[in-house]
């Protein structure tokens, strides 16, 4: 009897899972597999039927897209920029934590200011990119205007951050960090409201300083929120596309390009569907490795 009921349970479980598994397969697994398949073809996007795989097509060598990628300077620039994003974009998580701690302490007084800080998160990244693009513009931009008022720049100087081959990415990350810090703040605020009060009270009775409280009690207890913040930040940095497309279009001359945008440009502007797919596969692999590594590490920390 027990065995058959367990079997029935199993069947029921699969039945209940079926709809979401079907959608998952359709919208997640199939596109991933098809993209991997495309990366081994040199499809131009026009053929009637599915493009022939490299093994069936004598005109293509299987690894061609990946060999081309290896020899493509722009690919390495984009990969490097994604790494820069990963490192510096994460700083906005610290800003978010700082804001959350600040506003949590004075939560009632500061709810108005809290909502001000929260605001950029509501904007679409397209809006953020457009507005920051205007701020950072040479000749007409707000930042140049202010720097001139403050006599940091001379009257004939220009603030050409987004035209600079070395520094354009910095301007993009600053713009992206603005809404992202707000996002991290919200995540940490939620985490803070779930802290165990008795632990905090015990610490207060033991007479810890404010800094010790934050460093040794609050931050470790915020661990679940931190896991989410880190993953969200990592994914945000890796898949960044819209801000770059709007503020610099990857320019000047690809110096601020990132993998997601370069994939789009190669696929839909240069019509190299296979090559674009190969870039997507690399981006996918990088994300997968980083996120799995991070999740492993956090689980080890939990002793699980």
């Amino acid at each position: 009897m027990a065995g058959s009921s367990a079997q029935r349970d199993k069947r029921a479980a699969w039945l209940f899972l079926a709809p979401s598994l079907f959608l998952y397969a359709l919208y997640v697994l199939f596109p991933i597999l098809f993209t991997i398949y495309l990366s081994f073809t040199n499809w131009d996007g026009v053929s009637l039927s599915a493009p022939p795989l490299c093994v069936a097509d004598p005109t293509v060598s299987c690894a061609q897209n990946y060999i081309d990628l290896w020899n493509d300077d722009v690919f390495w620039v984009a990969l490097k920029n994604n790494a820069l994003w990963l490192v510096f974009f994460s700083l906005s998580a610290f800003v978010g934590l700082g804001l959350a701690l600040f506003f949590h302490v004075k939560s009632r007084v500061a709810s108005f200011y809290k909502s001000l800080f929260f605001m950029p998160m509501v904007f679409s990244l397209v809006v953020v990119g457009t507005v920051w693009g205007w701020f950072l513009q040479p000749e007409f931009g707000l930042v140049e205007f202010l720097l001139k008022k403050a006599h940091v720049l001379g009257p004939d100087d220009q603030f050409g951050l987004l035209a600079d081959f070395q520094w354009a990415t910095a301007g993009l990350i600053v713009a992206a960090a603005w809404p992202h810090a707000a996002y991290c703040m919200v995540l940490y605020l939620a985490g803070l409201s779930n802290l165990q009060k008795n632990v905090l009270e015990a610490a207060l009775i033991d007479g810890v300083s404010k800094w010790q409280m934050i460093r040794h009690i609050v931050v470790p207890m915020l661990r679940p929120a931190t896991v989410i913040v880190v993953i969200v930040t990592m994914i945000g940095a890796l898949r960044t596309f819209d801000l770059v497309a709007i503020m610099t279009a990857g320019g000047p001359a690809n110096s601020s390009n990132v993998l997601a945008l370069y994939m789009y440009q190669q696929t839909f502007e240069s019509n190299r569907y296979g090559y674009g797919a190969a870039i997507a596969v690399v981006l996918f692999a990088v994300s997968l490795v980083l996120i799995i590594a991070y999740l492993r590490k956090t689980r080890e920390g939990e002793g699980g």
């Binding site: 131009d44 996007g45 026009v46 053929s47 009637l48 081309d68 300077d73 950072l136 513009q137 040479p138 000749e139 007409f140 004939d156 220009q158 050409g160 951050l161 987004l162 035209a163 081959f165 610099t248 279009a249 320019g251 000047p252 001359a253 690809n254 440009q265 839909f268 502007e269 240069s270 019509n271 190299r272």
Partner: protein, 416 residues
Amino acid sequence: MKSTLATRSCSFALLLSAFAPCAALAAGSLTINTNASDPSAKKAFDNVVEKFKAENKDITVAVNVIDHESYKVQIRTWLPNNPPDVASWFAGNRARFFVDKKLVEPIDDVWKPVEGEFSEGAKKASSFGGRRYLMPVNYYHWGFFYRKDLFEKAGITKAPETWSEFTDGIAKLQKSGIASPIAIGTKQAWPSAAWFDLLNMRVNGYEWHMKLLDGGERYTDAKVKKSMGLWSDLVKKGAFPKNAAALTWQEASALMWQGKAALYLMGNFITGEIPKEMQGKVDFFPFPTVDPKVPSSQVAPTDVYFIPAKAKNKENAKKFLSFLARADVQESFTQESGLLPPNTKAKVDASNPFRVKGQQVLAEAKGLSQFFDRDANEEVAKVGMDGFVEFMAYPDRLDAVLKKIEATRTRVHGKK
């Protein structure tokens, strides 16, 4: 909205999915896909369609207007699978790609009665392998738009016609206090390519330029270096804005309205951006001659309509293309869109001096190119234009930039 149910269901199907078949329309129908999505272009095209309907009451016309960028991506899906009866596109190599794949219907019979009304340049741009495939409906000119008042203030009495007059003029403008007189914005890389197109055509001639863009010559050729050298001189003199790479072409035009720049190599569409207080202060001159032995040619991007090889109502489609070819239709069509009619019998209204000058410049041209990113293969064009932007920031990297473009050309077109 006068759209019929058929139109709506068809555009709805397009909205849902680029793969969805357009609703099968009754006999005596005509489906048109167009990228004429800007308000003025859309209105002009709507009026043309209304006129066609009035003349052909038995044909039900359905028009799908698709925005420019989506159109470029989607056409690859519906053209081989579920094409409309008539579709808009660009002349030159962008069309050759589809012609080579046998996706375009030849229309020599549509052309026959109007052969004599089109210029050689327009005919060349519509033909591949000796057959006509495309019907040009409008084009526009490129050249220098400039501030007359600033030129006068700098002591330039007439618009430059030769390269030495041009460089003298730049020097005079710089002396008059305009540090970077030539406006350009390369946040989108394409405005830089106009400089390459026109300089290379002026130095090496139309035929050689087109052969290069077709993939038949090397970008590392000494001839390319010669034309780039003239450009490099201007860059090194600081004639272009230092931070051009952070400006869009519209933002760069503001430099000219503010008097921070005095001239701008642009397409005629810039005249739609001229603010009220600048009206009458802006004029046009064509790109100056560099080598008097090289006959004049121009950049004139041409919009065309064609019949997909798998169209269902080819007779109606041909009727529509013959209609589009007519001088009176092109006259009213381009009058509204502000572009120029490739049919030379069509008149250009004298109230807009830019159009009159443009029509004259294009009529005198011995060759018309379509613009770098339409004449060259897309991959080469992308690498090329990014290369031009890099070169404008670091003119000393010229050789490295040309090598990069040449490497892509080799990969796409093979070794020469």
